[in-house]
Symmetry: C2
Subunit: 297 residues, 2 copies
């Protein structure tokens, strides 16, 4: 049985690891938060909880990293010794959202240590993770992709190999976040302008949601913009981070991203005003403040 | 039978006037382009072609303006004498895309002349016009809306009364164009960034089109961005005009529209580079030029 070390048991990592365990992989899991390890065992009793990243990785055929960012991935691989603990020729599958340049650097160090590397960020959120319905954007050479494909298909139903080089999966994920972040900010910009003209917010969303002006984000975040204090599905500060990665990628590649740059300013302002932990739809409060309206609509 | 004067027989106006004629309204139509009048008669022989705006309006119960902009609407109503030619108490239905403030000004002059005014811009394009499937965003008082509703329902199947004041329909249409323009520009920004990372454009659209990064415009304009020289569905210069209206509306209402402002710069640059009459998807050429890539991908 293929042994898979799984590091990073957050809200998405837990159901992803559980799906691997249910698919008959032998899963050895670690998270720095002990409660996250316990939660995984409640979800998938067939998984093994480990005491460190190195412990999880020891002799494993593959290592999945579903940590928060590139710093955490490097800490687990190089700092905590997970890379050297893996079986020779094992596969390292990086699924966290990282800047493409960081992914290239990590990939080079993994290759130098004699392991395969698969750049495989995801989209689809917690719901997609739970249903094994994630979109996975893969940048990897033929042999690495072939080795990882059975694992990836146990976690996602839309596995796209977007390129043969590490960093290309991250590039597509970066553009995904560029579009998502700008679509949220522009939905807020439009709603705030409509409110200023005395247009009812719910009617506005009904008229435009199904038109050529529609976006997935307008329909998903729009109603939460119109609500006073919506639950947090994804926080404002996630887009401060992710649009930061977009601008980093643009600088690294010499590519202009003027709309992403403008959108980042709005999320930064939201965070500066104390809304960083609120639902990302609440970037609308910055527009309302700019426009001299009550922040709560 | 209700007599309707219809002024402005462009690609959308012709099928709209034809739908009114088929719905048993007596349509008296005028366009400054004689060939457009002939085309309407080929489409709807029961309509009457008139020699001037005043001729079309004489004694009519309603006047529909489907001209290009507010200047043309004012020229027909006030310059060419259509307003004074209408029956007393007739309805003036303005369906062109105009800045909200211009609509308010026209509405006041129409009311002062003893006629009803209905602010009723549309979205849905030529296809929506042909199928009587337009979305119509109405700002009008109760009596004016009641008088116009049978006509509007003969042209659109999604008639939304978004407010009771003229200018509020235009406000929603303005926000519609804000979202459409930014969605086109950001799709180009994302595609150009992906291309720079060596990602295949068609694969990129396949991966993101159905995800949380999706928008109606990404799916509609994206494939035309990837094409070398696509047919013109709507021109770059239309968004130079319409995003200009968005910024005018923001200034008039004191509302910040930073993303629309950034998007307008990209369409302006496209026009400056000689792409103004090309399909609006070709704003991607500006991104490619900025990024040091071939403008044709």
């Amino acid at each position: 049985m293929t042994t898979v070390a799984f590091i990073g048991l957050g809200a998405m990592g837990r159901p992803m690891a559980a799906n691997l365990a249910r698919a008959q992989f032998s899963v050895r899991a670690f998270d720095v938060v002990a409660a996250a390890r316990d939660s995984l065992l409640a979800l998938a009793p067939q998984a093994t909880s480990c005491v460190s990243a190195e412990d999880a990785a020891r002799g494993a055929d593959a290592l999945v990293l579903m940590v928060v960012n590139a710093d955490q991935a490097e800490a687990a691989l190089f700092g905590a010794g997970a890379l050297d603990a893996l079986a020779p020729g094992a596969s390292v599958i990086l699924m966290a959202t990282c800047a493409p340049k960081r992914v290239e650097d990590i990939a080079a160090r993994v290759a130098a240590a004699g392991r395969r590397f698969i750049d495989a960020p995801v989209s689809g959120g917690v719901a997609g993770a739970q249903q094994a319905g994630l979109t996975i954007m893969v940048g990897a050479d033929d042999a690495a992709f072939a080795a990882a494909e059975p694992l990836l298909k146990a976690m996602g139903d839309k596995v796209f190999r977007v390129g043969d080089r590490p960093g290309q999966g991250a590039a597509v994920k970066t553009v995904n976040q560029l579009l998502c972040g700008v679509h949220i900010a522009v939905a807020a910009e439009g709603l705030a302008l409509a409110e200023k003209a005395g247009i009812d917010g719910e009617l506005f969303l009904k008229v435009l949601g199904g038109s050529a002006a529609g976006s997935w984000m307008l329909n998903n975040r729009g109603p939460r913009m119109a609500a006073a204090d919506p639950p947090v599905a994804s926080a404002v500060d996630i887009f401060v981070k992710d649009l930061g990665i977009v601008l980093d990628a643009g600088r690294a590649q010499k590519a202009a991203t003027p709309l992403a740059a403008a959108a980042l300013q709005m999320f930064l302002a939201a965070s500066a005003n104390g809304f960083g932990a609120m639902d990302d739809s609440q970037v609308v409060r910055v527009y309302r403040a700019l426009n001299g309206q009550s922040k709560d609509a």
